[in-house]
Symmetry: C2
Subunit: 142 residues, 2 copies
Amino acid sequence: MFRVYSKGCEYGIRALSALTELDCKDGFSIETVCRRTRLPVWFTRKVFQKLVRQNVLFAKCGPGGGYYFKKNPEDISFLDLIQAVDGNVFQKCILGKAKCRRSQSCPIHSTWEKIKKVLMSELRSVSVKQLMESRNRVLHVS
Amino acid sequence: MFRVYSKGCEYGIRALSALTELDCKDGFSIETVCRRTRLPVWFTRKVFQKLVRQNVLFAKCGPGGGYYFKKNPEDISFLDLIQAVDGNVFQKCILGKAKCRRSQSCPIHSTWEKIKKVLMSELRSVSVKQLMESRNRVLHVS
DNA sequence: TCAAAAATGGATAAAAAAGTCCATTATTGA
DNA sequence: TCAATAATGGACTTTTTTATCCATTTTTGA
């Protein structure tokens, strides 16, 4: 039951990873993305709604509308994506202690702080742009 | 929705962390541990049952019975505990890809492998004995 | 030997997460 | 202006996880 992020977040990541340069420029509709990735449309829609609220994407209604990046895909990290969809999940104490600070900390506070630091910095080091590129590369190879 | 381990696993960790030297020698009952930690008895029981099946603890029925460590608490790591309760959770692909191997891997395979390595080695570096000690230290200080 | 103590495994209930649907709103272009 | 397109937010359903309960089994010692 180890999870870095929710299912919804996973879909968001997979959806955005499947975008092309052109999509980034001209925008993309849910239908297009979900057809390409075989993700469930209705659920992915919910995730995109969150990304809009969190200023990662912006949405344009009406014919020819769709979603557009609000920031450059280079400047959106994997961590940004997780936090936009799931919230500030990395702050909580790993042992569920309500007030886990340096004094009065849980038995593995310092270990966990160390792990978290690595985890977050690695997640920050991957951009949506990179996700897109490596996905497209994989598709070409296979 | 970030979780390193299940709720049950969390309870197991908290329960075992609350044991004393004497408990390790003479065994301990669910009631004793749960009174001390204010954990729900019935649920913690289920977790202990798993730990028994996974050879972390062994159980003795009847009056004066209870649970005993099957291995030395020094030799049980945090990681062992997680895997005993939750199974082999760290093997799965972070993006939910069924077959994520070096060739045909998901876009963040290598990043994730790196994070996982640190995560697992840190979790392996903490023993149940240490958890017990630091918990007891905290209790004395506060 | 039998009542009490302690664990077991299966059944069920409650809560949370995941997934679906729909009526509504916004926008476009014919 | 209005029909069609595309997103929105809320309501609802299903599935998974968490939590509880109980009848049964094992063991002890009076």
